[in-house]
C-alpha cells in the first residue's frame, strides 16, 4: 500500500511546491491591487519558452539567471501596459484587461513558436534520477519543497523587515492612505509584480523539469490551480498560499492514485467552491466583510 502511494505523494509534494511559487505571485498581487492576475499563468509559460530559446544558444549557467531577468521584465511590462492605465477604473474592467492580456500573451507565444510543443531542456542535476525508499524519482522532487520554503521564508523576511516590505504591507492595508503618507504606489506595485514573476520563473524551471514539453496554453491550468491555492490559504497571506498549494498538490495526486485522473482538476475547483462558501477568508486570511 505504502509502496504504491509513495510516488504519488512525492509527486504531490513536488507539484505543490511549484504551485506555491506561482500562488505567491497571485496572492501578493491580489493583496495589493484586489485583482486576479489572469495573465500570471502565461508569464509562467513564457518563462518556460525563454528557457527553451536561451539554452539553444547559451550555456546553462547564463541561461538560468537570464530567464529570471526576462520573466521579471515581462511581468513589469505587463503591469505597466495592462493594469496601470486602469488604476482608477472599476474592478471589473481591470479583470477584463487581465483576461485580454492573457489572451494576447497566449497568442503571441503561439505565433512565435508556431503552435508546436517545444522540448524543455534537461537541467543539470535537477533532472537526475534518485531513489527514495521504493520509489524512483527525479532530484527536482526533493529540491522543490526545500527551495520553495527557503524562497518563501526569504520573502516573508523581506516583507517584514525591509522598507519596501513595509510599504507593501501599508499599500495592501489601505491604498489611498498609504499614498497620502508619501509611499510611491506605482513602484510598490511594480515590485510586487517583479517578485511574483521572479518566483513564477523559478517555479516554471522546476515544473517543466517534470513535464518536459512547453506549449502556449500549458500555464493556464497550473495558474488557475495556484489561484485556488491562494484563495484556499487565505488570499493576501503568503504562508497560507504555500500551505494551500501543498495541500492541493498532494490531494490532486492522491485522487490520481485512486484512479480518478479525470477528476483531479475538478477536485481543485470543488475545493475552491467549498472554501468560498464556508470559510471565504481561507485558512489564514484576514477578516474582511467585503467578499460575501
Amino acid at each position: 500500500m505504502f509502496d504504491r502511494i509513495l510516488p504519488y505523494i512525492l509527486a504531490g509534494i513536488s507539484v505543490g511546491g511549484q504551485y506555491a511559487l506561482i500562488a505567491v505571485g497571485y496572492t501578493m498581487v491580489y493583496g495589493i491591487l484586489r485583482l486576479i492576475n489572469f495573465a500570471h499563468g502565461d508569464i509562467f509559460t513564457a518563462a518556460g519558452f525563454f528557457m527553451v530559446y536561451l539554452t539553444a544558444s547559451l550555456p546553462m549557467a547564463v541561461s538560468i539567471p537570464l530567464v529570471i531577468v526576462l520573466t521579471v521584465a515581462l511581468g513589469f511590462l505587463l503591469e505597466r501596459a495592462a493594469y496601470k492605465p486602469l488604476r482608477t477604473a472599476p474592478r471589473m474592467s481591470v479583470m477584463i484587461s487581465a483576461i485580454g492580456a492573457s489572451y494576447l500573451l497566449q497568442n503571441l507565444m503561439w505565433y512565435i513558436t508556431g503552435g508546436l510543443a517545444k522540448q524543455y531542456p534537461v537541467l543539470p542535476w535537477l533532472g537526475d534520477n534518485v531513489q527514495i525508499f521504493s520509489a524512483s524519482t527525479k532530484v527536482v522532487t526533493i529540491v522543490t519543497p526545500i527551495l520553495t520554503i527557503l524562497l518563501v521564508i526569504a520573502l516573508v523576511m523581506l516583507i517584514r523587515y525591509t522598507k519596501i516590505g513595509m510599504a507593501m504591507r501599508a499599500v495592501s492595508h489601505d491604498f489611498e492612505t498609504s499614498q497620502l503618507m508619501g509611499i510611491r504606489i506605482n513602484s510598490v506595485i511594480s515590485m510586487t509584480f517583479v517578485i511574483g514573476s521572479g518566483l513564477a520563473a523559478v517555479g516554471s524551471m522546476l515544473y517543466f523539469t517534470n513535464y518536459s514539453t512547453v506549449t502556449p496554453t500549458v500555464g493556464a491550468m497550473p495558474g488557475l490551480k495556484a489561484f485556488v491555492a491562494a484563495v484556499f490559504g487565505g488570499i493576501g497571506s503568503i504562508p497560507g498560499a504555500v500551505i494551500g498549494a501543498f495541500i492541493i498538490g498532494i490531494c490532486e495526486n492522491l485522487i490520481k492514485a485512486a484512479g480518478y485522473t479525470a477528476f483531479s482538476d475538478a477536485f481543485t475547483f470543488a475545493l475552491l467552491i467549498v472554501v468560498l462558501l464556508f470559510k471565504p477568508t481561507g485558512l489564514f486570511g484576514e477578516k474582511t466583510a467585503e467578499k460575501v
Binding site: R34, I36, P90, Y103, N107, G114, L224, I273, K291
Partner: protein, 360 residues
C-alpha cells in the same frame, strides 16, 4: 428605460426583417458554403450567447465566467437526444450503443438543452450567487470546469459518450427554411434575443439594472436580491444552453474538450467590445468578432510576396496576435465598447442622462 414609440418599433422590426431577407438572398445567390454564410451562421449563434452573457454581466452586474459550461450542457443534451437511433451503434461504439434508446424532435431537444442548463444553473446558483465580483467569477469558472470533467467521465459514457465525439445529429443543413440553412439560426437566436429584450424592459429588467448600479439601494427599495440574481442567472444560462445547442448544430460534431474557459473569455470579449449593457452592441460585436477571426483577418496568416518583397511578420498565428492587440486597445482605451450602454434604436434620441456605473 423609455418605452419605444410605435413607429420606432415598426421600423426596428422592418430592419430586422430586411436583414433576414438579405441573409436569405445572400445564401440563394452564393450557396451555403460561402464564407459570408458561414460567418453569418456562426455570428448568429454567438450573438445569442453574447447577449445571454450580457444579461448577466452587463445588465445584472454579476461577473460570471461559467458560460462555456452551460453551453456544453445545452450542446450535449441536444446532441444526445437527436442522434438518430440507427446511428447509435456507430457513435457509441465503445459503449454498446448507449443507453438512451429514443430520439426527440429537433425543436424539443433544442429547448430541452436550454431547460437542463437552466435547472443546473438554478442548483449552481444557490450557493454561488452569494459570492461577489471576482469570487463569483472564479467560482463559476470552476463550475464550468467541473461540468466539463463530469461529462467526460467514463462512467457516464453510455449517455455522453465519454471523451469521444458526438456526431451524426441533425445540423443546420437538416433545418432548411425556404431552401436556405442560414434562416434557422437567425430565427432561433432572433426570437431568443427578442425574449431577452422584453425581459430587460420589464419590471424584472429594471430590478436587474438597479442591482447592478447599487445593491444596497436596490435592496432598500424592496428588491429581493437573491431572487433576482438567481432569476437572471437561470435565464441567462437557459439561453446559453440554447446557444450551445445551436453551436453544436453549426459545428456538426461536439466534444466536451472544446468548451474550455478560453471559449468563455471569447464571449466575454465580444460583450466588452459591444458594450456592457447593450443588447444591440453585443449582436454587432459578435458578428464583427466572428467575421474578423474567421474571415477578414485571414490574410494575415498567409505569407505574401509583393513585387518580390516578402512582407515581414505575416505567417500562421499573426492574425490572432493582431486581433488580441486590437482587443487590448478596446479594453484599455475604449472601455465603453461600440455602443456603451445604449441601444441601436435609441441612437437618434436626444442624449439621455448617463446611467452611471454600467461597468461596476
Amino acid at each position: 428605460m423609455k418605452k419605444m414609440s410605435k413607429t420606432r418599433l415598426i421600423v426596428s422590426l422592418l430592419a430586422v426583417l430586411l436583414l433576414y431577407a438579405g441573409a436569405w438572398y445572400a445564401e440563394t445567390a452564393m450557396g451555403a458554403n460561402n464564407m459570408l454564410i458561414t460567418v453569418l451562421k456562426k455570428g448568429a449563434v454567438y450573438a445569442l450567447i453574447a447577449v445571454s452573457m450580457n444579461l448577466l454581466n452587463g445588465f445584472t452586474g454579476l461577473f460570471s465566467l461559467g458560460q462555456a459550461g452551460f453551453m456544453l450542457v445545452g450542446a450535449y443534451v441536444y446532441a444526445v437526444f437527436t442522434i438518430p437511433l440507427k446511428r447509435h451503434a456507430a457513435v457509441y461504439q465503445y459503449y454498446n450503443g448507449g443507453i438512451i434508446q429514443f430520439e426527440l424532435p429537433l425543436l424539443v431537444a433544442l429547448i430541452l438543452g436550454g431547460v437542463v442548463a437552466a435547472i443546473l444553473a438554478a442548483l449552481v446558483g444557490l450557493p454561488v450567487l452569494r459570492l461577489k465580483s471576482d469570487y463569483l467569477a472564479i467560482a463559476t469558472l470552476g463550475f464550468a470546469e467541473i461540468i466539463r470533467a463530469v461529462v467526460q467521465w467514463d462512467s457516464l459514457g453510455p449517455i455522453t459518450n465519454g471523451s469521444n465525439l458526438l456526431k451524426t445529429y441533425p445540423t443546420f443543413s437538416n433545418t432548411k427554411i425556404l431552401g436556405t440553412t442560414v434562416l434557422f439560426p437567425f430565427i432561433v437566436s432572433g426570437v431568443c434575443i427578442g425574449l431577452i429584450l422584453l425581459l430587460i424592459n420589464s419590471t424584472y429588467g429594471r430590478a436587474f439594472k438597479a442591482i447592478r448600479d447599487d445593491e444596497v439601494a436596490a435592496e432598500a427599495m424592496g428588491i429581493n436580491l437573491f431572487k433576482h440574481k438567481e432569476l437572471a442567472f437561470v435565464i441567462s444560462c437557459f439561453f446559453a444552453g440554447i446557444g450551445g445547442a445551436l453551436l453544436a448544430m453549426f459545428q456538426g460534431t461536439v466534444q466536451a474538450n472544446s468548451f474550455k474557459s478560453a471559449m468563455t473569455y471569447d464571449i466575454l470579449l465580444m460583450v466588452v467590445i459591444g458594450g456592457m449593457g447593450s443588447v444591440s452592441g453585443s449582436v454587432i460585436a459578435s458578428f464583427l468578432y466572428i467575421a474578423c477571426s474567421e474571415w477578414w483577418l485571414r490574410f494575415l496568416d498567409n505569407e505574401q510576396v509583393i513585387n518580390g518583397f516578402q512582407v515581414p511578420l505575416l505567417r500562421s498565428g499573426f492574425r490572432m496576435v493582431v486581433f488580441s492587440v486590437v482587443i487590448m486597445i478596446v479594453v484599455l482605451f475604449f472601455r465603453r465598447g461600440i455602443m456603451g450602454d445604449r441601444e441601436l434604436w435609441d441612437l437618434r434620441l436626444p442624449k439621455r442622462k448617463k446611467e452611471g456605473g454600467a461597468l461596476k
